[in-house]
Symmetry: D2
Subunit: 445 residues, 4 copies
């Protein structure tokens, strides 16, 4: 890779001397000049000039501020869509006589020229990484500029193709991994913060801890997504225990359960290009091959919106107790609300649906959609400040049982009941009663 | 890669046990069953079933004979094109009010479902390699079945994206390269046959010989294209000399010229996805970095259609001499036709054009299109049987001069005169006179 | 390695400019100059000069012919032994009062200065490889110059230390191994010639074939010793079958037997520094880890001196038949001597001993000394010209049974009976009767 | 390596089941049992038993406390020396007729059997590392038990052979190095403590910082010694500046000076097996190859015993000022003693000699012995607590000039004057006057 990078850089350097960027129309603004470069790039046929032009566009882009970038994206929208005139003709022709060849013409002519532009930018030395950053910028401004969505569609189209799962590489991350990658793991961990290198080491070096990441060949040292796994002798119910520096280390060959306790997407610019589902299943296979005695694969997951939802659906008996932020340190007080709180959580996770018919909890949607089963609600499982604030310390085990994944997935996809264990279903029913709603969920186990 | 492959194989294995392929409609033919699997694959959402289905489709495909494969491609054409009904509606809507969003809908709806099918097949363990072989099969039958071209268009679209130059890796091949790759180099050499391992070694092991290849990360040990280079103290004019086992080996640091004497595409299934242009230029950069004293980069190329063309445009004075296949072994006879033959070759390479306005020689088109200059015509440069039969022993040097590549390329692309050295231009003028045609080529040097 | 090599070469280059080798005494012969350089090297303390001097000594040595090398070794013997004067004093002191410290002084003073010289030559860029070649030269001349044995003793002492088994690395050789190593495998195979690359591939690429070699970190691409293994469903009795290009390939996981059919030492200069014993046992462990279903580890070995021995102990009934070199092609003739020939072989392998009490067959000595058991005599197992000439086509299976190795080894080392299977013991008894000798071998099985 | 390790472990495991360690004489103490195992090991010939025995000895050794280890070493001294009886005979024979062969016998018989014991322990899975630790233990107790020195001699003899510079590998350590190695770098840094991972990163990641280490193939991830280098535009005079997080980073290609500011030995058990000299010179070559524009190679070194020496040789005018630990924070006070303090340091470094005729400062001895020149004394160059306490903030530049190294080295080795720059020589002369001693050092520059 570095060799390729070097060569591209060298060719680019050469191109730069062949072409004179200052020869761009003098009277124009920098934005107009960048637009002119983009048009040049699409027209160019020579390797060296094309690479130099691509590098120059990316260099200029990097220096732009937010407002200028919005201008850049709008320029891509306005000037690099499909060529409308021939497309209109093709659409009419197709309407008259709709056959395969006319459809092919339609497809070809309707492809926004942006896609070709992105393909050519991708040939630049760090093109793929730069385009991922560019899309991250776009996603940032998209809520305020929904008209830019067609530009995002083109990014998505290309990224889906380039990051086809067939091209991803799974690697185990451990204490023999280069520091340059480990440093990124520390930075990208999004669920349970890695405090320092000692904390990291506790998650990758002991025999009962694993960390796996997907990489793309073009982004050598940049993980795309990673998952952290604890090997245990039971279905771990508390993140506090998993991350404790004092816990007793287990021989991996004595474990019977793999607990997926953290999944982090690393590249904001790849949002929506989903790897998580596949990562979990590939890691399951890897662990099974390595440790055949494992018999349970389960997550230990947050319920990130539970507290927010509960605030608006507060059962009368616990609202008061929760006023005191330290309620959970008082064993009696805690015991008095355990049943209500876990039942509310069970209901929250399985019952209410949004207008679009979706479950409310995004993590539940992800795992249940992948074919997992909601196995257990854990009480006082995450007593860190963030965990208490977002979910009153509740954590959830989702169970991946290989024989059931397909069926659970199909059931979930068809909009039917949520796959949950019998205790969780009972808890949810209690929650529904408590909250005085009808339990519409006749979920199977 | 092998790990990923293993995992995919394992997941696939699991999937196979989850789904029952024999449950396909019993009364149907194998072809109908394969079609049903393709439809299943597009509908499937679960990882394991999708991978198992993809593997099963590829397994069935591999066992098919030519006639069955034609049937398979026709099925892809008929059943996996775009969904016509909504596309007609979208085309009408767009015709009425042609805006960016309507164009986007058109683009999305006009994408043949084949593309998604291919993307899903690509996730299978050796998916990319299998798809490349599948397209090679398609190219084989395409001349007799031009109606299948839309299917080929979809292959091309995806391969262009997946084999974007940004994803290719240049590697030097030498005597420390694994035998599994070297064996493929022997097999794929298409210009000057590699007779055995000793012959190969003479091309990669001595300090004045280099071989570079492009690889794709998903096709670990499969070269896509490679180029063979001889380092020399002059512009080599004879392949016989370059390949001679007796030649004196040169210290690489004493060479001033790099001679590209063979370029071979390795994957018939990637035809039209061009790497050659970029490969040459990247190798030039690599050699310049490694051996800064090099000052000339030149090819030693065949003129593969020259003899065929000459047979129909035979100057009277040489036709008789060429009757005797061994004419070149007789120094006097050879001398008597040298001028006419080289002049005819010069004219053939630079003058006549096809109806489409293109030069007749494919190798000349490639190098001149890349920005090289036709530098020298070499007499009795390839006296092997194949070389004598195809081009009467003529070989050609195309010169890549970094400062001129862009200009040459632009000139050529604009359909103007061919870039050629003054001697070649004079020879070509002689050839035109000889053949009694008007020399329309006022080529620059 | 190459980096270290480069650096050493650079330092050496520098050193060369610092010191003037022509400043060596002018009147002297080249041999005297080399001797002077050796003395300089031992005295030198500076890195650069020492490295340059070492390189110069090795360069001069390489250019010497056989006679000059003998002179060089004699110079090492005469001028680089221990310093006699202080050693005599120390020996007297020790004789008077023999304690640990006096012994230590004795040891230190009795070390020939050659050892330090060799240690310093070893620091040169390819020093280890050069010293191995130097000893190979010495071994060549030793039979004619037994007085040089002390020099060889010093080589042995250092090589035993440097090639301590703790420093060796076992590598599997297969079709993904660099050609530079494979080429050496072809060259070094000493038992069953590898004819060409296709023959090599048949021995390393199919799933039921393995080749393992020991390497030393300082000799990166130079195997020290290697063993070839065939995986089979029985105890293979014929090398003709193992090497046949037409044989049916077996899935490795279906094999129950590993047949070690060839072991080759690669470095003549390391003669007597034994690796074979350890190699076999390490490969057994490697195979057991990889293919746990294997239950038998056996060699298929030649009996290289059998024909020679038999010529002097010919049983009357077979001498005549063997006159005809093609006797074995005549099934009836072959059948008529099978019993006598195999019985003679069994006796030859287990019965007669040399004056020193050793078995006559070197291969038998090696495997029985390692703790193997003589399991089976194979008839017409190697009908190649060499096999017929050296052993009338006989080959031998030695069985390595892990539980018995230690006991067999101890029994053998104590000079007692040879470990052999019951059938082999019966055959040997028959052979003894046939040859009219007393069977003194009451070997256990 | 890990493969070899695995195999050795497996073989060992097997051996353990073959032999019964509990069968050792029951009545004996653990120490006697360990001694019996050592004798067994030397006698053993079988691979498996030998490996198992070696592993068992090392396992028992590891569990011993200091007193038991002293007992173990004494056992090695008493029971594993040379066999005295035949040695006495050989010594007498040699005294009578001292020739090469008799000397060889003497050498062989005088080798303590410990050496063979260590060679066999070295074959164990982590044998080399274990033996290095064992010698570290021995060095710990040696001051109190000088009678054990012969045992240390044997360690030294073997380590010199195994760690011959020809077997060492130089590696650059940077941010792409596995964390397992980086962690050891942090731990082993002995001169200027590495506080945390950020501090480490500042020393290996910026383009103007380098760290190189020697490794041995048998100790894969264990550095033997490393050196830290700062690239600069001048001869850096202050460690405070070099380690400052705020300093401006330099482009490596703009540097003209390489400053070796820290050298750390990593393995206490390899004390006296010197690598430092060679490391510096190899790194100089590496840097020259990489950055040809570098023209100065210099150390920034401590003067670790200066304060201790000065306390006993205090010039009257500065003793009082130094009473106040914070004297250097008061610019006027500092200025008042600068001249006296630096002159005293210059004298300390170059003038006074020990009874054995050696310079007093160990760092000066090391660099001057390597052929460097004492170039500059730096004032207030290390104001950390340790630096102030040991050397009143003084640091020293030693200059490695390639053309002078040999001469300087020879001069130094011959016991003559110290190589020092003119300013340093003048300073030393001042120091000598100040301290009222005769300046015997007419050192050349």
């Amino acid at each position: 890779m570095s060799f390729l990078g070097d060569m591209l850089a060298a060719i680019t350097e050469r191109g730069r001397s062949l072409t004179d960027f200052t020869a761009l129309p003098q009277a124009t603004t920098p934005a107009e000049q960048t637009a002119a470069l983009c048009h040049n790039l699409l027209r160019s046929r020579g390797e060296a000039i094309a690479l130099a032009t691509a590098a120059e566009i990316l260099r200029r882009y990097r220096k732009q501020d937010r407002a200028q970038r919005i201008g850049f994206f709008r320029m891509l929208l306005d000037e690099f869509g499909p060529d409308m005139e021939p497309l209109v003709a093709a659409a009419r022709a197709f309407s008259t006589s709709p056959d395969e060849r006319a459809a092919e013409a339609l497809h070809r002519l309707s492809e926004p020229r942006r896609q070709d532009l992105f393909r050519m930018l991708n040939q630049s030395a760090h093109g793929t990484a730069e385009l991922i950053r560019m899309r991250a910028d776009l996603l940032d401004v998209l809520p305020d500029h929904p008209e830019l969505e067609p530009v995002d569609k083109d990014f998505q189209h290309l990224f889906r193709s380039w990051f086809n799962r067939g091209f991803l590489e799974l690697r185990r991350i451990d204490w023999d991994t280069p520091a340059a990658i480990l440093e990124r793991i520390i930075r990208y961990e999004a669920v349970h913060e890695i405090k320092d290198w000692d904390d990291l080491r506790r998650r990758i070096d002991p025999p009962d801890r694993r960390l796996y990441a997907f990489f793309h060949p073009r982004l050598r040292d940049e993980p795309l997504i990673f998952v952290e796994v604890a090997l245990a002798r039971e279905m771990a119910g508390s993140i506090d225990f998993i991350l404790s520096p004092e816990r007793k280390v287990l021989d991996a060959h004595e474990a019977d359960t793999a607990v997926f306790y953290s999944i982090s997407d690393c590249q904001p610019g790849l949002r929506g290009i989903s790897f998580g589902n596949f990562l979990i299943k590939q890691v399951v296979e890897e662990l099974r091959a390595d440790l055949p005695q494992l018999k349970r694969f389960v997550t230990l997951s947050p319920a990130p919106l539970f507290a927010r939802w509960l605030a608006q659906n507060m059962p009368p008996d616990i609202g008061e107790a929760l006023q005191d932020a330290d309620w959970w340190r008082d064993a009696r007080k805690a015991a008095s609300i355990e049943q209500s709180l876990t039942a509310s959580a069970a209901w929250y996770l399985t019952g209410p649906r949004s207008a679009a018919g979706r479950l409310l909890d995004p993590v539940a949607r992800f795992h249940l959609g992948n074919g997992a089963r909601l196995e257990r609600i854990n009480w006082l499982a995450n007593t860190g400040a963030a965990g208490m604030a977002s979910s009153h310390g509740i954590m959830v085990n989702y169970l991946y049982r290989l024989g059931d994944i397909e069926r659970n997935h199909e059931t979930y996809a068809s909009g039917q009941a949520v796959a949950a264990s019998a205790p969780v279903r009972r808890l949810a029913a209690t929650g529904a009663r408590l909250l005085e709603v009808a339990d519409t969920n006749g979920g199977t186990s």
